[in-house]
Amino acid sequence: MNLAVSLGGLELKNPIMPASGCFGFGKEFSQFYDLNTLGAIAIKAATGEARYGNTTPRVAETSSGMLNAIGLQNPGVDGIIEHELPFLENYETPIIANIAGSTLEEYVHVAEKMAKEQVIKALELNISCPNVKEGGVQFGTDPQLAYEVTSAVKSVSSKPVFVKLSPNVTNVIQIAEAVENAGADGLAMINTLTGMRLDLHSRQPVIANQTGGLSGPAIKPIAIRMIHEVRKQTNLPIIGMGGISSAEDVIEFLLAGADAVAVGTANFKDPFICQKLINELPNTLGNYQFNSIQEVRESRCHNPSISL
């Protein structure tokens, strides 16, 4: 079965990619399988300067999920370009650069540099990281700021720009509309929900940063709902994510309105998961009487062009 999907300007041989922050810059997972099998790779967030992230502990387990507050640790855009991208040039899989920042200027600076790299095929604008005070989350919860950062980044990027939306909002459609108006080429949704766990022995938050981002199967119903909501309003390509761990989940996201999907937390439970999903997808589609990815898209009950 042909699994290829087209996300606006971005062509993927299949709709499955690892989610940003859960796959580093690919090197570690290349020990497990050939990265060329992946539809794309969303690499760890890049900021203007190197960041050292939050104090540890940075992760905690929750029921069917986890909290993380890594705090955007990364070697900075120049460090990534110099030390991490060369390895990825060995692969033909499109690389999506995740862009973070504290200020509009930082976003623009990082985006501009990344967009110039040949190996980078699209940008994912992370306006939704809940784990650092200066992490851009304000850009993801205010439609006006979301508009501004998106259009500023668009103006410096020749590559498609996907804006990654925060689920920690009253009205996700509003933000989606704002970034679409600003020229976004696509959406990525959802980032993590802000959560917390307390340790009863220490009586303190388990995560040093106090709060962390909730991800994993626990949040899947929220992701499906938000993608479904946004798909009613827009024809923009959507990279769906939030709790995917099976080929059935992939189809559920496609049916909800996603055009491709990203897998985050599940990589920690099973480092082979992305490859496994790619292998299982054709048969699983068949089990539900789908003959192609396109058929899944067409059986959405609510494509905007059809019903709304």
Binding site: G21, C22, F23, G24, E28, F29, Q31, F32, K44, Y52, G53, T56, P57, R58, V59, A60, E61, S63, S64, G65, M66, N68, I70, Q73, N74, P75, G216, P217, S245, T265, A266, N267, F268, K269, D270, P271, F272
Partner: protein, 253 residues
């Protein structure tokens, strides 16, 4: 590193809340180094999305077995403690670096373990004892938690300390170490951070090694969950990949 379905051969209580589990493994005994760890999947289904890191306590290359020793702390280790013979456990490993032991010959080596930091030191001790003189100081909360004293005694002059004095020396490992006047060449330590800090401060004159613990996501170096501060590389040492064994002089605890 590899993902393997391992069969439980033995899973027995060896001290209060503490279990010794023997697992079959086709590849780890040949590849693993003392000090490396495995990352164990917990439960069926999706309730537990994070694996649990557990040190390799012993290897049997011939029989294709590995031994782990773990203390029941929360849901994951509780689930492990309920595995029975012939149950299967999904394991990723061997992970992290190990102790680099090969260059030691005729040395006087100090091993310092605390609680569930003791397990990885067992295989270290076994290997070092082949060509060196090894002294092991093992600390536990109290008598009921003591394990592997006999096993260590086969390979090292072994001292046990308990916090409450219910067994062996009363007090903490550094109290015992204070009493030695042998000149050690190096030391290998693993245990709670408080203990490691005390050992680090006490043995500044020696070039030694610490094995650290931190909450982990991926266990393979991809998620930046498990970093530790390192004098020469600010913020960039990952315990799962660059550690868990790190130079005592470099680690900022």
């Amino acid at each position: 590193m590899i993902q393997e379905q391992m069969t439980v051969i033995k899973n027995r209580l060896i001290a209060l809340d503490t279990f010794e589990m023997v697992l079959t493994s086709e590849t780890i005994p040949q590849r693993a180094n003392s000090g490396q760890f495995i990352h164990v999947e917990i439960g069926e289904g999706n309730e537990h999305m994070l694996r649990r890191p557990i040190s390799i306590a012993d290897l049997d290359e011939e029989k294709g077995l590995i031994t782990i020793i773990y203390k029941v702390m929360g849901e994951g280790t509780k689930w492990l403690s309920k595995r029975e013979e012939f149950n299967v456990v999904n394991v990723l490993g061997p992970l992290g670096n190990g102790f680099d032991l090969d260059h030691h010959v005729g040395d006087n080596i100090l091993i310092v373990g605390g609680g569930v930091g003791v397990p990885p030191l067992y295989h270290v001790t076994k290997r070092l004892s082949q060509h060196n003189n090894v002294t092991a100081v093992l600390g536990f909360q109290s008598k009921e938690f003591v394990f592997y004293e006999q096993q260590f005694s086969q390979y090292a002059t072994t001292y046990i300390a308990t916090d409450d004095g219910s067994y062996g020396h009363s007090g903490i490992v550094t109290d015992v170490i204070n009493q030695f006047d042998e000149p050690f060449t190096t030391f290998y330590a693993c245990g709670p951070n408080g203990m490691l800090k005390a050992v680090q401060n006490q043995l500044t004159h020696l070039e030694g090694y610490l094995s650290l613990e931190e909450r982990m996501g991926c266990g393979i170096g991809a998620c930046f969950a498990c970093v530790c501060e390192y004098r020469s590389k600010k913020g960039y040492v990952k315990i799962c990949q660059d550690g868990p064994v790190l130079k005592a002089s470099e680690v900022l605890l």
